[in-house]
């Protein structure tokens, strides 16, 4: 038993070390590529992780980093919230009524596969310039995974459970509360996790459309100022925040999961 346990923690330590090594290797390759200008003289040391890291610290000290991050997270959070508030209930309804699922499935699949960036002109016409079209584009990208995953979860709820609670006298409302919602909750959270992924990706290009704050804006702004170290720093922030968001959602999913 103790042998099993220690070998398991050994495995965990090993996995951790391998991950750290993976990051170190990546940074080393990146640094080498820029120091020795392996990708051409244009991509010199200013594009390397060292310069990026130093710029990151400077941006943190000046407060620019937090301002832009706050602006981005605000738009992202609002878009995601809209996606969940609209997509969650819609997913439950679509998953609950088989015919509604058939009615909507093709249209939803087409809408899901339509890049939100294709809707930019429409978003600008409808919402004007500013944060609102950005929030709309994020919400648009994020709503489909929520709807489809939730609907899938609801349609898969075991009929045996529904029958069982009806046997105990449950009406439709109680069947929903006692069986369907808790049974489909993990798939709702899974949908939100996918939504965070796609929403975070859409955020950056959406912030390149006439807003003057946010990480997407910061990318264009550093380019215009030839501040390539700041550009790299911003890319790092976007990637790291995306990782953090996904970790949070993964934890949340483990919390609500009732399988395995």
């Amino acid at each position: 038993m103790s042998g099993l346990k220690s070998s398991r923690s050994e495995g965990a330590a090993r996995r951790f070390l391998l991950r750290i090594a993976g990051i170190a290797l990546f940074l080393a390759a990146w640094q080498a590529a820029t120091s020795f200008e392996l990708l051409g003289p244009v991509f010199g040391p200013a594009f390397g992780p060292g310069a990026g890291g130093r710029a990151l610290l400077a941006m943190a000290r000046s407060g620019v980093l937090f301002e832009q991050t706050e602006a981005s997270l605000g738009r992202f959070g609002l878009g995601l919230l809209l996606a969940v508030v609209i997509g969650g209930p819609l997913g439950f309804i679509v998953g609950y009524f088989r015919s509604l699922e058939e009615l909507t499935t093709v249209v939803f699949q087409i809408l899901r596969m339509t890049s939100p960036l294709a809707l930019v002109p429409i978003a600008l016409i409808a919402f004007g310039v500013g944060s609102r079209p950005v929030v709309f584009l994020i919400a648009y990208a994020a709503v489909w995974p929520v709807v489809l995953s939730t609907a899938h979860g609801v349609s898969r709820v075991s009929p045996a459970w529904k029958r069982m609670v009806r046997g105990f006298g449950a009406r439709d409302g109680s069947v929903l509360r006692k069986v369907i919602v808790p049974a489909a909750l993990p798939e709702l959270v899974q949908g939100i996790r996918l939504a965070v992924g796609v929403g975070w990706i859409v955020l950056v290009p959406a912030e390149m459309l006439g807003v003057d704050s946010g990480l997407g804006y910061q990318i264009l702004d550093s380019r215009d100022r030839f501040a390539y170290d700041e550009l790299v720093a911003t890319i790092l922030v976007i990637g790291l925040l995306g990782l953090a968001l996904d970790l949070v959602l993964r934890r949340l999913k483990e919390l609500v999961s009732w399988t395995a």
Partner: protein, 206 residues
Amino acid sequence: MDGVNLRARASLLAEALPLISVEEAARTFGAGPRAIEALGPVSFEVRSGEFFCIVGPSGCGKSTLLDLVAGFERPDAGRVLVGGRPVLGPDPRRLLLFQEHALLPWRSARANVELGLELAGVPRADRRERARGLLHEMGLAGFENARPRELSGGMRQRVSIARALAVDPDVLLMDEPLGAVDALTRLRLQDELLTLQRRGARPSSW
């Protein structure tokens, strides 16, 4: 014709009446040449306190018959009466224990037992007390907080039996609830069910 007399006669009648009466009930699935007669016309009566067994080969319509009595299905012909009234739908007073336990995997054993009580609007503290007592009686003391997946097949069936007993049904319909457990466990659970039955149709009087 005074009211008191009438009520007395009604209760006398109720005692003489069978608890369950199935009269020429039949159920066919589908229509036309592809119709399946799941249950031919069948009649029988069960009185209160009786232990009534339905035996037959696989596919002969046992589950279909129990569905009719439980109210999940309606007969195409004939009648199914419980307590003198036609069965119109499921009712916690005549509970069906399924071939599969149908425990909710996200609930603990105790919360599973509490399910029927929740639906009946029993206050939380009473529910908890009652579920704990029943799990204890079923030999599951100490497993109150275990999830179904952490329990053995026989233990799961005992949780589902406790869940049924919690709502104190007049009729407990059992569709081979022990079919999926091993022979030894089945024998023991059958004994437990018989003991509960002998203690009266109201095992809640502990």
